[in-house]
């Protein structure tokens, strides 16, 4: 039952959020893992992660070249088509040059919609960058307070932090069930569980996750399959048809370090001390995304996930024109190879093209299964 609920949310995320707007809730569109959603939540708004759509882009092509990448183009397309008018506003962080430009374009072409840019450094090292990072977060807080007309109360923020931290812990438990041998949670359900958290309120999501974990505890794990456990890496995976395809090829996702996965939820906020500072520190110290420097903590996260899940190979799902991930890929491929772990690169534009991907994945799974990799 809960699996169906999670899955249904993802059929029409914008439709779902429109319903809240009609009910009088304020929904804030968020783009990037460096938007402190706790602030938005504490200001009694619902953060909705914008993940674009698989629809073709036409209007946005007037303003952004194809090589800006599908995510930025697709989100701009949604806005230009009027599909985001129900949102109270949009919050972006400078996760790529394309997303940074999206902010400028929003101001120019989506008149009347509140938009905020959290202009944090890309370099998460050094005293100066730390100071500037903190300042950018505080400026966002102030802008948000001005927008809502009420100050961010410490007590409200503490409650939000607790809700978000619980969400993170529940998702980590789900990840542990995914990695168990045999898996106690299917990869498809895990992905639905993670992605639905970008749409649902965190309270509702927590409720669903608790139900899901409870149902997993009661169910007998399926020992029938001999699926090859693989790790999936990349900035974004929203194509839900990919995991069934993987299974048809004889493999499953046993762990991930996706930008729309564990890198989003892995790190908790310290619940002691000043809550504003604690939130800021969480985002400063979180596992960095591919567009942040240094890359080492992200690499260590990937390795620890592989060790935990005993994944036998890695599939990198990388968005076309996502420079940051494309630079990392050969480095990481070689590092993995040195550890005897094979990897495969798949290009995506929010969707993975079916038959070509199937052939490549099947070949890769056969190699991993056969141990032919050297």
């Amino acid at each position: 039952m809960v699996r169906t609920e999670l899955s249904q949310v993802l059929c029409d995320p914008l439709g779902f959020s429109r319903q809240w707007s009609r009910e009088g809730c304020r929904v804030m569109g968020c783009l990037d893992n460096y938007v402190p959603e706790e602030f938005i939540h504490a200001e009694e708004m619902i953060p909705l992660r914008l993940l674009g759509s698989t629809e073709s882009v036409t209007l946005a092509d007037t303003f952004l070249p194809v090589f800006a990448g599908k995510l930025a183009r697709s989100i701009l397309e949604q806005a230009l088509q009027g599909n985001l008018v129900h949102l109270a506003g949009i919050v972006l962080s400078n996760s790529s040059d394309a997303v940074r430009m999206l902010y400028d374009l929003w101001e120019r072409h989506i008149p009347g919609q509140w938009v905020a840019l959290i202009d944090v450094p890309a370099i998460l090292e050094g005293e100066t960058n730390h100071r500037v990072f903190r300042q950018a977060m505080l400026e966002f807080k102030e802008k948000l307070e001005k927008f809502t007309g009420k100050p961010l109360e410490a007590a409200a923020l503490r409650r939000s932090i607790a809700v978000f931290n619980e969400n993170r812990r529940l998702l980590k438990k789900a990840a542990a069930l995914l990695s168990a041998s045999p898996p106690r949670l299917s990869a498809e359900t895990y992905l639905d569980a993670v992605l639905s958290g970008f749409v649902l309120t965190k309270e509702k999501h927590n409720e669903y996750l608790r139900q899901l974990l409870e149902s997993c505890r009661r169910e007998t794990p399926d020992r029938g399959g001999q699926l090859v456990p693989l790790h999936i890496s990349g900035p974004i995976l929203v194509d839900r048809s990919f995991l069934p395809l993987l299974q048809e090829c004889g493999a499953t996702m046993a762990s991930e370090d996706l930008g729309t996965g564990s890198r989003y939820y892995w790190d908790e906020v310290d619940e002691t001390g000043d809550p504003i500072e604690a939130v800021i520190e969480r985002y400063w110290r979180k596992i960095p995304d591919s567009y942040k420097t240094p890359m080492k903590p992200r690499w260590l996260h990937l390795l620890s996930q592989i060790e935990r899940s005993k994944a036998r190979g890695v599939i990198f799902v990388i968005e076309k024109y996502s420079d940051e991930d494309q630079y990392d890929y050969p480095v990481w491929r070689d590092r993995l190879r040195a550890r005897g772990i094979p990897s495969l690169l798949l290009d995506s534009e929010l969707v993975l093209e079916g038959e070509q991907v199937r052939t490549r994945v099947q070949t890769f799974v056969d190699i991993v299964r056969g141990g032919a990799f050297s």
């Binding site: 450094p121 370099i123 005293e127 076309k320 420079d323």
Partner: protein, 413 residues
Amino acid sequence: MTTTAPKKKGRALNSSYEAAIVLKEYWEGAARHRAEGRPVAWVSGNVPIELFWALGIYPVYPENYSAVCASIQRAQELCEEAEERGYSIDLCSYSRVNLGIVLGKGVDHPDLPYGGLPRPDMLVTTRIPCLPQVKWWEVVREFFDIPMFVVDATMVDLPIRESQRQHYLGQIRELIPCLEKKLGVRFQEDTFLETLKLSDRAAEIWLELLDLRTAVPSPVGSREMCGNVFPLVAMLGNPRTIEFFTHLRDEAKQCVQEGKGALENERIRLGWDNIPMWYNLKFFSDVEDRNAIFTYETYLRYVWGGRMDLNDPWTAFADKHLDVWLNYSINQRVRTLLHDIVKFKLDGLVFHQNRSCKRFSMGQRDLAQVIQENLGVSSLFIESDMADPRAYAEAPTRVKMEAFLEMLEGKKS
């Protein structure tokens, strides 16, 4: 003073022949510095270049080297070397050329221009021109396993905010002791301030030269000027830059005073937005057969070498490095372009949709729309790449350019 080569057909300014000599001196100087055991840093566009000259660290520019490789038609093979190693064809072609060298034949392969790239002791880069630059440098760091410093900055709307200035300067205050510690050099403020003076003097002369190109007829076109810009990128703070730019400026000044243009019959004045196609600078001079001249480039005016008010040197230093086109918001680009199109009396603008420079290319459609609406100035878009010739389609681009010129001619008559 270095003797320049005799004037050949096609160069408007004799002094432009000096560019190749200056470039050779720079790369030979880098090799000599390395051979003598003095520190070499690989740096990228918009790093605080004066600091390196002041500290006696030779700043080596792989980006320029990639442009050089492109200009002698060597870029494609090097890009392919990088692609064979897994680097996507969609990545910046400067970086693919560089990674093709680093991961392929090696930086000191004798087959490479100027005998190769001197090995770095340290890497210094910045996010000012773009975010992927930092990622490219991370790959290089992975290979050489040497220290790296990244100067961060957020994009600006002018005037620059104090917080942005302090962000930049704070990092410079961290960079200096880092360079001292890692490379065994010593920072002396007097030397640095002298270097800033040299840098600013060079920038002043360069901007005077560019302003001379507002004259009708224009004394010099883009093909030559793109070849002349290099010292402004890599040699600010080096007296040789002042010498070279003075020759260019004086000669252009004389041309303007005499009413002598690069074209005998200049009819159409064009501007160029984005990095040029280094393998095809001829694109700029081809239009001259139609009595058209490219006399303005955002790349030459706003990417390198702004002025500094040296009464407040540190503030000026920060502002100069933040105040660059690639770090401008779209609104700032719009304001700047609207001003310059009038100043340079441009009839049309050519936007290079450069696959390798997204920061430059995104927002161009807005610029074109605004200049059409506000000034009635038309634009042409061409899709290509700054270093990888595979992205350039000769025939359709020529047809588009011909049609554009015909349209502009029609508007004039």
